[in-house]
């Protein structure tokens, strides 16, 4: 299996180089590298509570990455996913807020899930129409909508949905306990089930259905696909809708499962982070859960770094970014050496 061994070499090369780079970086800031790595591991896997925190990050990452698998298939750069998460969160908050006095808690939660999907999908359709109808590159359309979504959240928190008394950056008034997504020993079981179902559906659509094949065909060669009778524009909109909907669900999880209210940083940069996840997964679905777990560990483990070692927690972001960069480079370097052997 030359394929497997080359993948393995690529991974070992990537992790080795990232290890060396991070160690140099830590030495530059006069921090002992080994202690830092130990703290990262202990801070994420050290206790059951911390593992539960890791899964709280894992769930939204998986949901966003599933969405991005569709858009990347079409060679679309759905940077707007960040805003789609925010809109999902707004949709979920609105539903929970308005339905809570009239319905039992579980109806509220299910309808919030539904409306967060719709809200995220509509926001993504906005970016999709800007691309297909108004010719704005999806990167800039998405970015513009991200800024709008951020403004919308700030306006809601400081305006109509402000906390009784004073409006502040700490967000809206927390929901009633009955509206919190139930957990088991702090583990977000419902979120984990939701994430696994979404990943399964995504994998099935991408690998075994006609839709998955069509998306791939349009992505690889839009011109040929058009001759074959496929509509690139329709497929773009479809992929964006699915991506936005899944991102919206992760917004729902952030609201009902993690923060229990709407806060300005509700998306926690998970949208951008999952773009990295999918790139590192080489746009395939099966490595996604493992990479999400790795990234979630880094995110959770780095929270205590500022307290203990007096270094910024953005170290996790640096490690994640460098991982993807080195992985991309290693891919091409491997190919080059192979060609020379042949």
């Amino acid at each position: 299996m030359p394929n497997l061994s080359s993948t393995l070499i690529r991974w070992i090369l990537t992790l080795g180089l990232v290890f060396v780079f991070t160690s140099i970086l830590l030495l530059l800031t006069h921090t002992p590298p080994l202690t830092t790595y130990w703290l990262l591991i202990k801070g994420s896997l050290g206790s059951l509570n911390k593992l539960a925190r890791v899964f709280q990050v894992w769930v939204p990452l998986i949901l966003c990455s599933c969405g991005l698998l569709f858009t990347f298939r079409m060679n679309l750069w759905n940077i707007g996913i960040e805003g789609q998460v925010m809109l999902g969160a707004i949709g979920a908050t609105a539903t929970l807020k308005w339905l809570a006095p009239f319905c039992p808690a579980w109806t509220c939660l299910i309808s919030a899930l539904f409306f967060s999907f719709i809200a995220g999908a509509l926001w993504a359709l906005g970016a999709g129409f800007l691309k297909t109808k108004a010719g704005v590159n999806e990167i800039f359309a998405g970015l513009g909508l991200n800024f709008v979504a951020q403004g919308l959240i700030l306006w809601l928190i400081f305006g109509p949905w402000k906390r009784p008394g004073i409006a502040s950056m700490s967000g809206t008034k927390p929901f009633d306990f009955s509206l919190w997504l139930p957990t088991l020993h702090n583990f977000p079981v419902w979120g984990i089930i939701l994430a696994i179902i979404c990943l399964g559906i995504t994998a099935i659509i991408i690998t075994w259905t006609r839709l998955g094949l069509e998306l791939k065909a349009v992505g690889l060669n839009p011109f040929a696909a058009k001759l074959y009778g496929l509509s690139p524009n329709l497929n773009t909109l479809l992929a964006m809708t699915l991506a936005g909907g899944l991102a919206g669900i992760s917004g729902f999880f952030q609201v009902s499962g993690v923060y229990h209210r709407l806060i300005p940083a509700i998306s926690s940069n998970y949208g951008y982070l999952s773009l990295l996840v999918v790139m590192l997964a080489n746009y395939k679905w099966w490595p996604v859960p493992f990479i999400c777990f790795f990234f979630a560990c880094l995110n959770v483990g780095s929270i205590q770094l500022p307290l203990i070692l007096k270094i910024d927690s953005s170290l996790s972001g640096v490690i994640q970014g460098v991982c993807v960069l080195v992985f991309l480079l290693a891919q091409k370097v491997n190919l080059k050496t192979k060609k020379q052997i042949n």
Binding site: L25, T29, L145, G151, W155, G159, L276, D312, V318
Partner: protein, 324 residues
Amino acid sequence: MDVILLLANVVSNAAPLIFATLGETFTERAGVINLSLDGTILLSAMVGFVVAYSSHNLILAFACAGIVGALIAGIVAASSLFLGLSQVAVGFVLTLTCRDLAYFLGDAYTRLNGPQVNHLSIPGLANIPGIGPIFFDHNVLVYASYFLIGLSCLYFYRTKYGLVLRACGENPKAAYARGIKVKIVQLGYTLLGGFLVGLAGASFSLCFKPGWGRPQGAEGIGWIALAIVIFGGWDPFKVALGAYFFSLLQILSILFQNWCPSVPAQVFQVAPFPLMIFMLVILHFSRQKAYHLWQQGPVWVRFLIKFLHTTPPAALGSSYKEDG
């Protein structure tokens, strides 16, 4: 608010944007997209501030920031030109990585008072009523931005080097056939563009939003710079106008904030960014069917449409293979 004071603010606020956008214009006109601007600006802002803080030498600080910018651009160029990686993918990863790297390395230098670029009004010129206070009562960086606009306009359209630069972005194969080393030219201009973006970063942390912190205040500017290059149709003069336009939007948003205190201030800080990006929609329609309809309209509409009508460099973003 005084109109002259407002325009003076617009002019000075746009200076770092002009460095960044013209840098990116050089890069994109040569056929390379450097998407890493947002991260590069922050990283070079951090480096510029730290060097200035420890050495008290502003020229050294600007040079270091520029070199950092060029290095990042070098990664984008080398990985796409020589390894065939996607420029968008590498650029995007670098955007996120450089931002976090800046926060991580600059953590020890947050909220410190460092040296700043001094105010320097040009004697004589600054006393002209009207124009003087608007254009000649700022600091060296603002004057450098005027100089850069003029220089790049001349360079692009009036020199042989400018012709080579445009040829590499429009038709690299033809340029190669004429004996131009396309990849070297593209690498060179990407490095130059990165250097200018680095200067933009340093001018944020040393002059326009002095100091370092998290957030620094220059977040999002890199993305806007990329949008402005499209808005300006890859033409240095129009790109500079785009930068002034965005600066005007920012200043106006501060004014509106005072007029409607009921809307939270954060909304106004965010507003110019989507507005600028959605300007691109207007650009698109100037290229479409509506173009012909609007052309029959009044003179000013025709003029506006002609002005906004643009086409990107034909070979933008595709890494050219000499053997292919």
